[in-house]
Amino acid sequence: MLRRRGLVAAALIITGLVALSGCASGDPLSTTNSNTAGEGSAGSDTIAIGSAAFPESEILAEVYAQALEGKGVTVKRSFNIGQREVYLSALKDGSIDMIPEYSGNLLQSYDTNTTAESSADVYAELLEKVPSGFEVLDQSQAQDKDSYNVTKEFSEKYQVNSLADLKNVNIPLKLASNPESAEHPAGVEGIKRLYEVSVTLVPISDSGGPLTVKALLDGTVQMADVYTTSPAIKANHLVTLDDPENMILAQNVLPLINSSKASAKITQVLNNVSAVLTTDDLIKFNTKSSGSAKESPAAIAKDWLAGKGL
C-alpha cells in the first residue's frame, strides 16, 4: 500500500512538473502572432532551415543548406515539419528562418482569390503578398505541381485526358488526396467550381506517396493527386490530366526567408542555386530517394551541388 501511495505521489509530481514546464514555454496551441521572428537564433551567418514533410522538400532544403555551408554559413536543420499551414507558423514564430517553397501554393495560402496563373504572374503577385518581415528570393525553373492522374485504362475507356473531360464520365468519381484537399482551392472544391464535376475525397495522408498510388492502381479511387515530379507517374504509366482552366497554379521552387536573414551573401548563394535548378533535377532527386537506391537527402544534395560546381 505504501509503495503504491509513493507511486501515486511520484506520478502527481511528474504531472505537476510537466504542467509547469508547459506554462513556462507558453501555450503551444495559442495562435499569438509574436513578431519576434528570427531573434531567437544567433547572427546573420547562422540560419535555421526547415522543410515540409516529404522527401523532395527535404532534399531541396539540403541543397540550399549545403550550398550555404559551402560558403561558411552555419545551418541549423529542422526538417519534416508537416504541411504548409504548420511550417508557415514555424517560420512566423522564428523556429525556422527559411524554407524551400512552391510559388503557387504559397500564393494561394496568402490569397485564396488570386487569379495569377503563369509562373511570372504568380511570382510577381507573391512579391507583394508575402507578409512583411518575410520575402521570397529568385524563383527557379523547377516546378512541382499537384497533378490529377488516372490510370491508362481509365483514360482510354472514358476518353479522359483533361479535367474538363471528366464531365462525360458517368460513374461516381473518387479522388485520393490528402485530407486538406477537401477545402483546398485546387482540390475537391476547385474541381467542382471550375470543371463542374463532383468528386468524393478519399483522404490518404501520404501526400501522393505509395498509398495514394496504390489506391489508384487497385481501383479504390479513379483519380489520384500525385506530384508532377513523382517517379511513380512514369513507372505506373499514369495519365496526368490537363488543367485547361489553370486551376493548379504554377509551382516554381523558391526560398521563402525571414528578411532579417536575407543578407546579401545568403541571398546570393540561394539565388545561385535557384538559377540552375530544373524540374528534371526534381524528378532525379525523387527517383534517387524513392527508387531502389534510397539515397539520403544529404547525399543527393551533395552530388547535385558537386555536379553544378556550387
Binding site: E85, I204, S205, L211
Partner: protein
C-alpha cells in the same frame, strides 16, 4: 485556454452530431473496429494461451514470437500492410490484432500458471480428466487474470485504432488526421478527448467485468479475510497467493 473552450464548443456543436462525420458515427466505428480486433485476437490468443498455461509447454516460442511482432511500430506496419493487401480495413486490423495478441496471451497463460499446482493435483486426485481440470478448476480460478489480459488489449486497441485514419477509414482518428493539416486544433483536441473518454469507459467496463467473472471463492480469498482465518487449507493458501498476484498485476 481559448483552444480548450473552442474544443468543448466543438464537442457540443449540434452540427457535429449529423452526417457521416458525426461524433456518434465515429465513436461507433472506433468501437466496432475495437470489438473486431478483440474478437480476432481472442480467437488466436486465448486457445494458445490456455494451451501454454495448461500444459506448461511451448512457452518460449508461444510467448516470444508475439512479443517480437508486438515490437513492430504499428503505424509502419499499417502502411506496409496497406501496400500489400490494399487500403481497406484489413491492413490496420492485422496490425491491431498483432498488438492485441500479447496481452491476451499473457493473461491466459499466466492466469493458468497462477493456479496453485496443489489445487490442480487435488482435482486430478479426484479423478478429473485434463479437460475437466482446465474447464472446472483452472479457467474459473484464473478468469480474473484472463479478463485482465482482454482489458489491457482492449485499451491498447481502442486507443491505437486512431492511427488507421492515415488510410481512408473512419474512427476517431479521422478528426485528428483531417484537422492536423489545416491546424484545426479544437477539432484535433476534441478527437483526442473522445479517444481518451472512450478508453476510460472501455477500461471501466472491463474492470467491472473482471469483478463479475471472479468466482466468489477467489474473491473471498482477499488478504484480510485469509489473515483473519488461520485455519487455511492448501487450497485456501493457493487462493490467497492467487489474489495477491492479481493485486500485483494491477
Amino acid at each position: 485556454m481559448n483552444q480548450l473552450f473552442a474544443t468543448f464548443a466543438w464537442l457540443l456543436d449540434p452540427a457535429h452530431y449529423a452526417g457521416p462525420d458525426a461524433i456518434q458515427v465515429r465513436v461507433g466505428e472506433q468501437v466496432e473496429y475495437t470489438l473486431l480486433t478483440l474478437l480476432l485476437a481472442s480467437i488466436i490468443a486465448l486457445p494458445a494461451g490456455l494451451a501454454i498455461g495448461h500444459t506448461g509447454r511451448g512457452r518460449t516460442l508461444g510467448v516470444q514470437i508475439p512479443a517480437v511482432l508486438r515490437a513492430l511500430p504499428t503505424l509502419g506496419l499499417v502502411i506496409l500492410l496497406a501496400l500489400m493487401v490494399g487500403l481497406g480495413l484489413l491492413a490496420p486490423l492485422i496490425a491491431l490484432v498483432i498488438l492485441a495478441i500479447p496481452p491476451i496471451l499473457a493473461g491466459a497463460y499466466s492466469g493458468l500458471e497462477s493456479v496453485d499446482r496443489e489445487t490442480v493435483d487435488a482435482a486430478r486426485a479426484l479423478g478429473m480428466t485434463g479437460w475437466q481440470v482446465l474447464w472446472k478448476v483452472e479457467i474459473p480460478l484464473s478468469l480474473s487474470l484472463i479478463t485482465g489480459g482482454l482489458r489491457s488489449a482492449a485499451l491498447q486497441a481502442v486507443a491505437t485504432w486512431t492511427i488507421a485514419a492515415i488510410l481512408p477509414l473512419g474512427g476517431l482518428g479521422r478528426y485528428i488526421f483531417d484537422a492536423l493539416p489545416v491546424q484545426d486544433y479544437p477539432k484535433m483536441l476534441a478527437g483526442s478527448m473522445l479517444v481518451i473518454a472512450l478508453a476510460l469507459v472501455t477500461d471501466a467496463l472491463f474492470a467491472l467485468l473482471q469483478k463479475v467473472v471472479t468466482p466468489p471463492g477467489v474473491r473471498a480469498g482477499r488478504a484480510s479475510l485469509v489473515r483473519a482465518k488461520t485455519t487455511h487449507s492448501h487450497a485456501r493458501a493457493a487462493l490467497f497467493r492467487h489474489a495477491s498476484f492479481i493485486r500485483n498485476e494491477r
